[in-house]
């Protein structure tokens, strides 16, 4: 395989990883702070993508769509937290899984009622539509590059938010000890709503950005949600840093696996067989990665319990 192709796939993996991080960050934050497992996080991703596609179609502006995705997913997050999620903090994980599974059914089918079963299409803004030329004449999609940059910035912003701001200090305190934070006079209910809304907005934002690469359709959030779970298992639950490492790892391994494995099997099989075996095995690669990490570090790469 040529170096150019490899490099392009590496960037694709990075771009995928960055998107996964936006999903995983919200999930891991909500788990770390509130102890809640939220299956409906993928629905917020979907809501963001639909909001972006609908607003972009109505106004002709991708940027307004992007703003709408954040607002819609964030608002949906607040609503869901206040109506359902806050009743689940003291419940066991089984109840949390079931209630959020119910939310998926409600949100997915609700979305289908409003937008129908056909996918919507979302175009990247004009000046990002073509390729850009990087060093040495290497060409790469401007839009994907933009996702990498924006995602990187968001990751940085999230890091600063958690470590440097007053809200971040409260979030970390809430993670350590709920009663302590309540004793400090912080309204814990509001704090939880804010954390959930931040996670929701990030998921919505990720959905909107990916909407211009894939099609916008009901159920688009679930594959990403499950990958985000893999990311969290790999990275260590509750850890933003772990989520970042896990996301990039999963993004790159998944993307490279799809490109390299069929070629690898072609070394000792005929092309058709190599393609089918390679495709089947590469679809398993990140799970194999997860299994290996589980064997050696069941707590994930970045353990919070140290």
């Amino acid at each position: 395989m040529s170096t150019t192709l490899l490099f392009e796939q590496l960037l694709n993996g990075l771009q995928y990883g960055v998107t996964l991080f936006l999903m995983a960050a919200g999930l891991t934050l909500v788990f770390g702070v509130m102890g809640l497992i939220n299956l409906a996080h993928g629905s917020l991703y979907m809501i963001g993508a639909f909001a972006c596609a609908a607003v972009a179609a109505a106004t002709g502006s991708f940027w307004l769509g992007l703003v709408a995705s954040i607002v819609a997913a964030g608002f949906a997050g607040v609503l869901i937290e206040m109506l359902v999620i806050r009743r689940l903090y003291d419940r066991d994980h089984l109840d949390q899984v079931l209630a959020t599974f119910a939310l998926i059914l409600i949100l997915s089918e609700g979305c289908r009622m409003v937008f129908g079963s056909f996918p919507l299409y979302l175009d990247a803004p004009g000046f990002l539509a073509g390729p850009v030329t990087l060093f040495g004449g290497f060409q790469y999609s401007a839009y994907r590059l933009a996702i990498i940059l924006v995602g990187g910035l968001v990751a940085l912003g999230l890091y600063l938010l958690i470590t440097k701001t007053r809200l971040g200090i409260r979030i970390r305190a809430g993670e350590a000890d709920r009663e302590m934070i309540a004793a400090l006079g912080v309204n814990i209910g509001t704090l939880y709503t804010i954390v959930f809304a931040i996670g929701a907005a990030l998921a919505g934002f990720a959905g909107a950005m990916m909407g211009a690469i894939q099609s916008v359709q009901v159920g688009m959030g679930e594959p990403v949600l499950i990958l985000a779970f893999v990311v969290i298992v790999i990275g260590g639950i509750g850890s933003i840093k772990g989520a970042l490492i896990g996301s990039i790892l999963v993004g790159v391994v998944d993307t490279l696996g799809r490109v390299t494995l069929p070629g690898f099997f072609n070394l000792f099989m005929d092309t058709a067989a190599a393609n089918s075996v390679g495709a089947a095995l590469s679809s398993m690669s990140i799970y194999v990665l997860m299994a290996i990490i589980l064997i050696f570090k069941p707590e994930g790469l970045v353990s919070n319990n140290a």
Binding site: I37, V97, A99, F229, S282, L294, P298
Partner: protein
């Protein structure tokens, strides 16, 4: 204990109702209802499997579709090879397909047991949300594998022209096939009741409630949970083979995470840890699907609302509502 007898009466009533159901459906001239009842029996069996891990053992597996689907594919692969008279493989020895249900069931049970052993070995190293996410992820791995592996239909799945055979029974007759499934459902219920009351069941319940104590008593919780997880997977795998036989079709949908959620919903709707919880859950689910599915294509929206209501306000499920709180001793 009045609550005990009420639950027992409910169980007896349900058993009898299911036993005579084909006669009622025939009398009503609604043969399709027999197919619905067969689905109830099969889904019950799948949920009985999960209930052993989830209700008795407290193992919140969100990946039981893996075993359901593996059971389904065991049937699909064996039967499709029998159908085309081609061996499954010829090296290092020859394995032929078959259309005998008994062999298919055995293969389904063994294969899903092996899958449960591997998934359990890895996922039981963790607990809580990790366990939920890892079982989900491994099920998803098998799902993607079947989608991208073209030999057995990939995304489109596999169709079988004729239902498989059972010695001495005409399986093409809906009532006969229903009774086969019903007998297996009762066998599954009986097995899970026996296990729950056995020494192993005592250890498993202790593993759910207090792992530290179980270990200090000299019983290794990991081994107990792994054994339960494997048995649980085997039962659900058998149900998968039956479901594939009922539909004469198997596809990756049987392996999807949505299926895992559905099996879990069956357990919850009926009542976690109740013997007949899975049966009641499956009954409610199928009736709900039949009634609302006929009225609106968005019936799952309403299923979501009902499920949310049950989780938030009616813990204990339908049996909890009908027969009061669960008894312990």
């Amino acid at each position: 204990m009045p609550s005990l007898s009420r639950e027992t009466y409910l169980n007896i009533f349900l058993s009898l109702a299911l036993l005579v159901f084909p006669f009622i459906a025939t009398a009503m001239d609604e043969p399709f209802y027999i197919t619905l009842a067969t689905r109830v029996a099969i889904l019950s069996l799948a949920a009985v499997g999960l209930n052993l891990a989830l209700g008795t053992g407290g193992l919140v597996s969100f990946g039981h579709a893996a075993f359901f689907g593996i059971g389904g594919y065991a049937m699909g692969i064996l039967a499709s090879h029998a159908q085309t008279y081609t061996p499954i493989f010829t090296w290092p020895f020859v394995i032929e397909g078959t259309n005998q249900m008994l062999i298919i069931w055995l293969v389904a049970i063994v294969m899903s047991g092996i899958a449960a052993l591997f998934i359990g070995l890895l996922s039981l190293r963790t607990s809580g949300v990790y366990f939920i996410m890892i079982t989900l992820a491994f099920a998803q791995m098998i799902y993607y594998f079947m989608i991208s592996w073209p030999t057995y239909g990939g995304e489109d799945g596999l169709s079988i022209y004729v239902r498989n055979q059972f010695p001495g029974v005409n399986t093409l007759d809906p009532s006969s096939f229903f009774y086969i499934c019903l007998v297996l459902m009762f066998a599954g219920l009986g097995l899970s009741a026996m296990i729950k009351n056995s020494r192993f069941g005592a250890a498993l319940q202790a593993a759910r409630q207090n792992e530290e104590r179980l270990a200090a008593t000299g019983i290794r919780p990991f081994n107990i949970k792994l054994t339960a997880f494997v048995i649980s997977g085997m039962i659900t795998g058998l149900a998968g083979a039956l479901m594939a036989d009922l539909n004469r079709f198997v596809s990756p949908t049987m392996l999807s995470w949505h299926m895992s959620g559905e099996i879990m919903v069956l357990v919850i709707l009926g009542g976690v840890g109740r013997l007949y919880g899975p049966v009641v859950g499956a009954l409610i689910f199928i009736i709900f699907e039949f009634i609302f599915g006929g009225m609106t294509e968005f019936w799952q929206f309403y299923l979501g609302l009902v499920l949310l209501g049950v989780v938030l306000f009616a813990r204990g499920g339908a049996i909890g509502l009908l027969a009061g709180k669960a008894r312990h001793d």
